[in-house]
Amino acid sequence: MTVHQRDWQAFVTPGKDGALHMDLAVDGITCAACMGEIERGLKRLPGIRNARVNLTSQRLAVDWAEDQTGADEIVAELARLGYTAHPFDPASQKERQDKTGKELLRCLAVAGFAGMNIMLLSVSVWSGNATGIAPETRDFFHWLSALIALPTVAYAGRPFFRSAFNALASGRLNMDVPIMIGVVLAVALSVIQTMQHQHHAYFESAVMLLFFLLVGRYLDHNMRGRTRSFAENIAALKAEVAARINPDGSVREVPLSKVAAGDLVLVSGGERVPVDGVVETGTSEIDQSLVTGESVLVPVRAGQRVYAGTLNGAGALQVRVEAASGATLLDEVNRLLEAASQAKSKYVRIADRAARLYAPLVHGAAGLTFLGWLIGGLEWQPALVIAISVLIITCPCALGLAVPAVQVVASGQLFRRGVLLNSGDAIERMADIDTILFDKTGTLTLAEPELCGPVDPGDRTIALAGRLALSSRHPLSMALVRATGSLTPLPEVTEVSGAGLEAEVDGEVLRLGSPHFCGATLQQIEQILNEVPGASLLAIRFGGEPVRLLPFRQSLRPDARAVVDHLKAQGYALEILSGDTQPAVADCAAALGIPDWQAAMKPAQKIARLEELQRAGRKVLMVGDGLNDAPALAGAHVSLSPVSAVHLSQAAADAVFLGNKLQPVADALRLSKKARAAIEQNLWISGLYNIIAVPIAVAGFVTPLMAAVAMSASSLAVTANALRLRWGEAGREARPVPDPAIEAKA
């Protein structure tokens, strides 16, 4: 596809015994058959040591011998098999090993193993207590349990201890602090009870608690890992690489992380500009809609600034990469972004709020129990045992699962609807929303321009122009090709750089390009711009026929009107904030029936409007894709970005949605409300459980068996309630099939 060579050294890492290793994101793996086809196909190449597709993450890992085949052949073979593949930049793959997930799974395995073995011994003790077990045997069993439990708690408890210590060190309370106190006290009490030859020990409670909580943690981590890896695939398939012009004149494709300020980068026609910089040579037109929101193409020539994420028109440009200098649009966006992110960190998650409420309450109750029994005339030791049993039975097993269980189920549902979450608590924040701000270009509309009005299939001139357009990678030419469905290019096309295309058909000259190039009059241009405000124009002149002007515009997302109506019916206040010109935004707002809109907005103005709304007590959802939206995305209560958005905006948004439809926005709002309700129910369930369990514990009637049953029952209740979120969702619309390949070329 690209003429210049790719610098494979940047993507390839040395593998085992002299082989090379490469990870690729592969588009279009949908089933098991694709998996076998790719693996068998690649193994037919000489020198391939190993090729393995990971169906879960839709990635391919290849090892090959350097002297027998090359990375180019591998990608070519994949293309021949019908799969678009793009290698990962190893620099962006630091977390590929997923160390946290493996650690959690190891802890889970150890806790599970220990829990089963201790339970085996505990059940013997419990039944023995009822039937007259010999005290020596019981002590022996308790010591054995201690032998298993102590190293297990030390090993499997580490994720909780670490997070609890971090929280305490920074002066906060999170759910892990009461968990740590409960587990450590339970084990310590049990050891002392064992030494004193008591009937009861709580080893199995401590280990089981860890096991349940680790299940929750692991599921939570897994769900996040899945969306992260999916997002990485999309990023890799977008081919975020730059064609660097080396000092010797050769052009090499390198990952963006390898491009430094001062490098010279080649941007071919129809490609996205990969970097911020200044044009050294070449003239072209730039589609800046992703950066400023303007939908009309802007001409650029040497000395002018271009931004990463903008789309180059027909001409090739050489761009000198610039580091941030403090005066560019990007710097302003970055500054606003930083301020906005700081303002947002004030939000406290529901789980942490519950922990703040829970810890003093439970620890206070335990303290009062201790004092109460002392005053009631008990020795301090048995009083302490009862107080600790209060802590054990209230240990936040269900509370620890209440929020993650719902988040896992809800994010799974959102994933099926094409919404990928960046942050776990986005779901709970989304449920508060009462106002939605939309960006126009690329958000309410699609990112690519489209021909306005239908094409007459019998129109010979248009059909010829469509065939001529096949020779150009200009965005408008490509839109014309899509509209006419042309397949065969015209022969002998000459390209006039920065102006248009020319070819000879039946002895007559056919021109396609800028209105000026085809000789359109200002009057004509004005007339058509009045009809279609904010359009980009492409002109056609065929021989002696009059010049024809075709208006192009980003069309609305196919279901935009329906979704907007639905959201209005739900009582959300809607507003459009666009960087585009007045007439274009007015037209779009009228088509969607949104009366509140503002046009020609700078990033600072967008965020000012956002703050104004937030001061008025509104909870704002921002939906946007452009660089100019990034600060507002970071500053809003919660934010969504389409997958075609620029990198910075996607990183600033709480969630990314796939596909051409706007429906995921409505789905996300609806599901988050359901999830929020389920989280609240779960908190009530665990609260109710404590209301029942605490008096029994305070009275001193609690046994380890009761603790075990109560813990499992409440955890199961909370998990089952979370699974209820799936009800009624199965029949709804299936997940839109993402097409990163099309977006990559866009």
Partner: protein, 51 residues
């Protein structure tokens, strides 16, 4: 209850064996692709390639 002297070490050993097996399979990457693994059993890798 003398039998416990044999039974408990045996129980712990067998449980430990299971744990060891799981940790080994985790380390050797068998849990990396659960989605793919369930389909791979249906593949006819052992048949000669007829293409």
């Amino acid at each position: 209850m003398d039998v416990l002297i044999y039974l408990i070490p045996i129980a712990l050993f067998l449980g430990g064996l299971g744990l060891g097996a799981f940790l080994w399979s985790l380390k050797s990457g068998q849990f990396d692709d659960l989605e793919g693994a369930k389909w791979r059993i249906l593949e006819d890798d052992d048949l000669p390639d007829d293409k």
